[in-house]
Amino acid sequence: MGRRYGVATRPQLELGLTMDIALGILVQARERAAFIGGPLQLVARPAARIVLRPPLVPRRLQLGTWLRRAADRGSTYRGKKRNELDAVLDRLLPALLTEMMRHVDVAELLQENVDVVALAEEVIAEIDLPEIIRDSTGAMASDTLLGVRMHSISGDDAIARAVDRLRLRLTRGTVEPGAAAPVPVPGETVVVVSPGSDPPPRTR
């Protein structure tokens, strides 16, 4: 499998850089606008209120009311057109896709361009299908059995290690009589008794 996932290609890096620059400029512009717009807002807001809602003018004749009505009309129209477009697309797209599918053999296209078996094997390996099957079928029995097997394998290894240590000790004793130094094993206390020395103190 020559594919590599999660590694950005050169065009992707360039695109990311371009977006970062654009975003940086936008942020800077927004900060400038806020800096300038702050004082302007103090003036513009009352002026706009006077234009939209002029005093002594009936509410229905105010510019704000007219704009609100126009916005409502526009919103209703937009909703209606969107519904119409949805209805048209609902009818058109399935027919169009069906017609397209009639001319394109998707299965063949996939087989030609995608290694489906490799993909499936990769997915199954990734999700550990046997584990899922075991989980779904008799998880208790399976887990117990797994535990027993793993424990007995550990027991096998422990015996093999013990025998190896014993063999090593015996071999050293044969090759260098009197100079046998037991190999200290982590977690194990070794008491060396040399000939002629006092016996180790007995602890009770």
């Binding site: 990769e122 046997p130 584990e131 797994l146 394998i153 015996i159």
Partner: protein, 159 residues
């Protein structure tokens, strides 16, 4: 791309390795219990049949210790021979994820299986040699050039 393994991740590193003393002892104990239970069930079944045939004259049939042991050993012999020559594993081996294989990791032929079973039944202490042997082979394995490996797959690998 490797094939999908039905073996749990924990056990994968051990597959194909020679099995040690503890696992094999447990497997043999399971086998002995299995044969004992089957023989006991047969004994009870035969007595129940005799009771049904002639309830008035029924007496619980008992066998001498020597006969019982002989029958049990023969049953073990037949059971192990058939199991090893067909699937390479007895029920105990199946439980513990073991398989008996030939010299090249192939199937054990029926005559070899028979001799191996006879050696296992007649000289069970020979199993202990696999705890001492560097190649983890019992006396039976050494004599017949067989091996007992960890094999958790449900079926034998195709060669």
């Amino acid at each position: 791309m490797g094939a999908i393994s039905p073996v749990p991740r924990e056990g994968r590193p051990f597959q194909g390795q020679q099995a040690g003393l503890v696992t094999r002892l447990v497997a043999n104990t399971v086998d002995a219990l299995t044969v004992s239970v089957v023989l006991l069930a047969l004994h009870v079944g035969i007595n129940a049949l005799m009771f049904l045939v002639s309830p008035r004259n029924f007496e619980f049939a008992t066998a001498s210790v020597l006969l019982s042991v002989t029958i049990a050993l023969l049953a073990m012999l037949v059971y192990m021979t058939i199991a090893w020559s067909i699937t390479g594993r007895t029920y105990g081996d199946h439980v513990m994820g073991l398989r008996v294989v030939g010299r090249h990791g192939d199937r054990v032929w029926p005559p070899t299986a028979l001799v191996r079973a006879a050696l296992c039944v007649g000289f069970p202490i020979g199993l202990l040699w696999c705890g001492v042997s560097t190649s983890r082979r019992s006396v039976q394995d050494v004599l017949l050039r067989t091996s007992v490996i960890y094999d958790w797959r449900p079926r034998r690998a195709t060669r």
